[in-house]
Symmetry: D4
Subunit: 250 residues, 8 copies
């Protein structure tokens, strides 16, 4: 319902092709579908460049299946995050093309198979950070990108990171995932000339306070060009990285 549509609508009112009452109604009803427990936002792709994504935590399998159906019926690709295997089964009943990433806990249905745009590099500090990294990777993939992965290169063994320096030079945007003290984004940020998106994870114990230590560390990074998302929010990092990576085509 952008400026162009609005102009058309008003022209039609002027021409008498649309009644005032109907125009009023149109101005009120933007396109979403009301399931009672949920209002599926079909307008989102038009507005933000990507359709609604399902965050599965706290939703029932039945709800997830119903929302998935509406999204797929509208011809949109499906991305559901934080999904259990049981939720996957429920969606699979709706659409047999649904795929499940066990590590990243995502359910996906792609609507096109074109090659993704290269330029995103996803780095994780430790093996325990992989679920978050995979969630980020799947999100970027669904948004039309072809992310590269570089895992287990934490700062306690810098040579593992530095030996992959060439990958940094080719990246257009880097997602850096780390728990514990969350120092990796600062080190990476000091080596590259592209934006870095830092993801703190809840990996750690004691005074890591569920990822708070890593979060604060990343927010206070002494390297420039680092922005941060919520703890364990691989989806958000992958999403922002894809928005940035797609900019060059805009």
């Amino acid at each position: 319902m952008n400026v162009e549509n609005l102009t058309n609508l008003l022209e039609n009112v002027k021409n008498g092709e649309v009644e005032v009452a109907d125009a009023l109604q149109s101005l009120r009803s933007l396109p979403f579908e009301d399931l009672g427990f949920s209002k599926v936002d079909h307008h989102r792709q038009l507005r933000t460049g990507y359709p609604e994504v399902i965050f599965c935590e706290g939703k029932t399998e039945s709800h997830i299946a119903q929302i998935s159906e509406r999204i797929l019926n509208a011809g949109h690709p499906l991305l559901a995050t934080r999904a259990t295997p049981e939720m996957y089964d429920a969606v699979k009943n709706i659409n047999s093309n649904a795929q499940y990433n066990e590590l990243g806990r995502t359910i996906t249905v792609r609507q096109s198979e074109s090659d993704g745009i290269p330029g995103i590099l996803i780095i994780s500090a430790g093996t325990s950070d992989l679920p978050v990294a995979e969630e980020a990777a799947d999100t970027a993939l669904m948004m039309g990108c072809a992310p590269e992965r570089l895992y287990d290169v934490g700062v306690a063994g810098l040579h593992r990171l530095l030996s992959n320096h060439e990958k940094f030079l080719n990246a257009r945007v880097i997602v850096v995932i780390a728990g514990m003290e969350g120092a990796l984004p600062s080190v990476v940020g000091g080596l590259v000339d592209c934006p870095v998106i830092a993801v703190p994870t809840s990996v750690g114990y004691g005074a890591s306070f569920g990822g708070l230590a890593a979060l604060l560390g990343m927010l206070n990074s002494c390297a420039s060009g680092v922005t941060v998302v919520n703890i364990d929010n691989g989806f958000g990092a992958g999403y922002s990285a894809a928005l940035i990576n797609r900019l060059s085509n805009k």
Copy 2:
């Protein structure tokens, strides 16, 4: 000291043009200048795309002047943040072209006067957020961008924001600055298809806890595509926005 330089160096060692001991020394001494109290990092522009920036808090006026001199002597543009008028006077003695933004508390010396790249939109929620907004704007400016400003459009009067909707559609990256509950990035993020960088400010009182409320709000944004920087970190937001905005030319 990138791969190309290293290859040259090794070729020269092979040719006998460079002695082993000298090569060893070169491999050790990457280019920084040691002032005793500070090591000015002249290599930074080569590595990260922008020279060293001076964060003035906690530094003496004399230190700031000395570091500024080295940066300017190296032919780099100067950006100093969180600067007092007294610090500005000290730098002005070194270089009469230095300019001071009272609101944004930045000292700048530009090395070229070319037009900036458009595409950055800087939005602030309230009048009290202006110092942070201006710091972000000046940073983007120094990095070769031409940021547009949209101030005092907080969520308590949504119409002020929505009436500027067209500006959103033209932006390639948006910096959103807000204190108190920090809700503005969520609202903006739900309306646009480009990356949003959220900056919490320490504006507020009581349970805002110096910006913590806004910070947590932004980290938990229900809109996709929002990343966050430290409280009051206008510099960091402007820096990341410029990195993103320059990507299209890469």
Copy 3:
């Protein structure tokens, strides 16, 4: 035991109709019923306008059944919150009219079937906030109001909210329920001229810290006319909303 009663009592003491010792006893014993483990406060309706409500968490099924019995025997309506299905079974054995709201986890027995007073609007940001919203709705219902519901209208898709603008204009008091960053009350508060009661929920993850982010966001709302209750406290919000809504009849 208000001023009028006290005057009567003293008159009777003067007339000799009441002995001093008895009057002393009356002045001491205000009406509550002592079950040993609990003192059921029958005086509450007289004092605060609504009888005792049972908060079920941390109580045994047997205790809940006993307290329910005393409340019902006194002719009061029954409202029990945070109830499990097992607790419902225990109460159903006492009174076969008891009803259970699975989503809202409330047990209720109404004592009259009169129509409720309209004027309360209950808004929730997401599907996961429904249990809290239903608790608020049932509480308002039991207190003689007829709340209207508007669910899944979070700020990331503003049009879903704005398309229901007419409902705002008819409301006398609005309950707004949201997790994550808790921005919805600020947006609603900026659009209406009636009091808004904000309920933060524990929906979210990572730096939402069990609802703390939403709570702080709501306390720092930049919109005027917003007050806040405890995290997930649907009961408290429904209760206060009903007190406000009933004022016009006072």
Copy 4:
């Protein structure tokens, strides 16, 4: 710019009395006045029932004077909170009727002298809570109410509170202000049948943590019907109380 206006506008487009381009412009430009550093929201009274209020902290005296002028020119009453005597002087130059409440730190200009609506009772626990109490009282006064005050009746001397019991019975809404452990709203809430708005203050030391102890106490009140505003937010409490108190005339 409500439904009625919109219908009129569309009718006029249909009649040809308004051009499409002009209508488009009207739909975009809702009424606010842009001062550059601030966008004064003249539409607010229409939308929320009360014009814009100036929160003075973090604003310059010049800014406050300019915003005041616009508000007064629009025929609105003026309320500025957290104002210093110097700010008052700046406003007094604009309008000689401006008044200053030293204790409550408010600047006010009334536009009518009609009697206020009775029904609001403002209770404070201690002498140090008076500035917050006075801010609440002035806010309610400016919104057309006639608040009653009851000060220094903290729970450590319950008889001071109970001896004023009659005032409770007459109140339609009560604002309770307390620092330290913030217990007073629970005690009051258990005695009355009207809504209670609790205001934690930063009065206290050590583990009061700037009012956090009182805030948490009030949010966890065991009395029903208590809602809470931010620490020291007398304005917010007075504002909500007035909205509630005016409901009976709606």
Copy 5:
């Protein structure tokens, strides 16, 4: 090993009745029994007036049984707190007189059946606080006191508390147990002339943060004469109350 013992020992060294090496050993070995995993402190009764008490959380049933055996063998009364029924079974195998308080989760074996010293009053705010109250009561009982109980008298129904005013006048020390906002100790403390020991409980939800709200409330009590113990620490409150109550016999 007090001053008297030390004097005797030195006299004996002088007399030659004790060898230097033996005296040295005595000075080193104060009386505790080493079980490897635990050093049972038999000297504690002499030093602090009460034998070692077993805190069961985090200990195995076997460890608890072994430590219990040593304590009983030394002729001391047994008190074990935070005990599960399984732990009780393990102790019962050691000593068939062991008793278990299901509500208070204590295991006890008394060594004398004399009447306890009256003077301790234990007050709880709600039904859910009973486990903590019973732990306090059992602790006081084992230390030779006869505590009186007054349960479910929270501040939301003040009359339940005030109707028991006479019990306050007879108390020599009062333990007040409350969760949620923890206001009860302030109200009680303002009514009595004896020391009050406040126990915050973890009863509550949301912003009670596991009892933190009640803890902070009690530490900031505006009533004089209130001291505080750890969250849910019924044992500590009962212990201190007994120390105080026994003072009169000292």
Copy 6:
């Protein structure tokens, strides 16, 4: 207005010596004096065993002088805590016997010169804790006790503490004051058989967080018989200690 008074009043009503209206008034007006900004609680001594104490922080000199005058006119001893020298001057104008303790920041006027009751020992860990210790000592003194002092005996030099062991044996109640890690109460508590009141101080830096570290340490003390007051609350500790110490005479 205790039970005896109430009985008399009722007898007089019965006898006709007191009119009903007058009795009603008496039952309402418990004895406090209303200064407008403050309600001086003359009934407090009757109820809690000690008259009102003035906490000076946040009060004006004029207010303090007026409240002091009412307290002294009623024949009560005067204790004002957290007082500045200027406040002392204001009180000295009212009563030339007023004394000022510079270290403890107390203003006092005694009404009798009888010897205090011995039995209170006040221990401080370091030199910086002395202001809090002196506040505690003066409070105990004013309440009729003769506290003994033992200063600068922190746990890093245990021998300073242990060499004063005899003082422990004579104490009936011990106040232990410490900042930093707050370990001293645990060590003392393990050595004595009387109640220990622990006072955390804000002495420390960095992760002491204004006394929070000491406060948490004391609340988690592994020694039994330790209760805690607010950070820097020497008054509260001295008050409770005096209540305990006076018990033997009850």
Copy 7:
């Protein structure tokens, strides 16, 4: 890849024995083994004096077994911490010499049986701290030290600690492990002339906040010479202690 290796490499480039491209490759590839999900850092022993240690939490049994195999194949000793019995079984299948410490939850395979270096003393405050103490002891053992243990000597019974004073005098470095208020390191630190490493444990309840109270206490220790590791981090303490203890042989 230290200075000596680098010199050799460069000499070989000069001699023509190594091609430039190969040298470039060598400079990039430091020795680690890439398992895809993990990069095993075989260079670590050379660099930090001890091979990679496996932190088992959050890893699958299969992953642990694979990493263990690579470490053992490289001839390194194996240390895996926070291991479950199931993880031990998986490793035992790889190497039948693997041993499991049930209390300390470590899996170990030693590569030499030489006697350890004495000098480390491990002290724990309570029985519940043993798992952390045993993890520290096993770590020190694997690093070639022979730690001595002193358990259950908390500050509430100082004599248990002081009777072992001789062990302090022989220690070269002391690890002190405590939960609750964490006071033990301060007391030990005040008695010895060697470095003390403090380990806070999560033992406690209520306001211990999962070990935070002990952590803050230790960081604020008034004794000099105390450093701190993360909550429950027995491994880190044992590791640092071994590094210190081995210094004398350096």
Copy 8:
């Protein structure tokens, strides 16, 4: 007053050379000097290897001068930390050899001029960390060590750190000082085989929360061999480093 002294004392008691009463007195009075406000601990050097150090914050100039005098009279070296220039003047009056380090805020008087033991390396991340670094260096110097300094080598410019790699190899213990995200100790810890003592500083803003971010980062370091001291505690780090460095001579 070690075992040897105790044996001698007892022998003398046996021989009759020392009376029992005198021995008793000796056993009680360990050597400290009581100034009333302070107990100067002359025994500390014997016990912990270094005499008492004065922490100046919160002490008066007169107190500092008096304590300094006692320490110097006992022939001990003087170290006073957190000293102002005024405090220095007060000490200089006592002893003209006193020296003041303006950056590190220490007052020192050495008692010998022997060369210090090399082996300590002090690294700081940024220019603003210098005061803490200098405090650490002076402390190590006073304890007989010759610390080497390496300043301004933060992780955002890794080459500045890596170019000084040789200094790491020579160090026996490294103190690493950093504010903001505190990542430097992790990077250093992964490169060296000696113990690392990490010092978080309060350098930073916003979500650094006065050094909390750096503190948490260091406690959660993924590198082994890192221990941590309090925020800004340069003294503690220097002290522990010296204890470790002196071990080789033990």
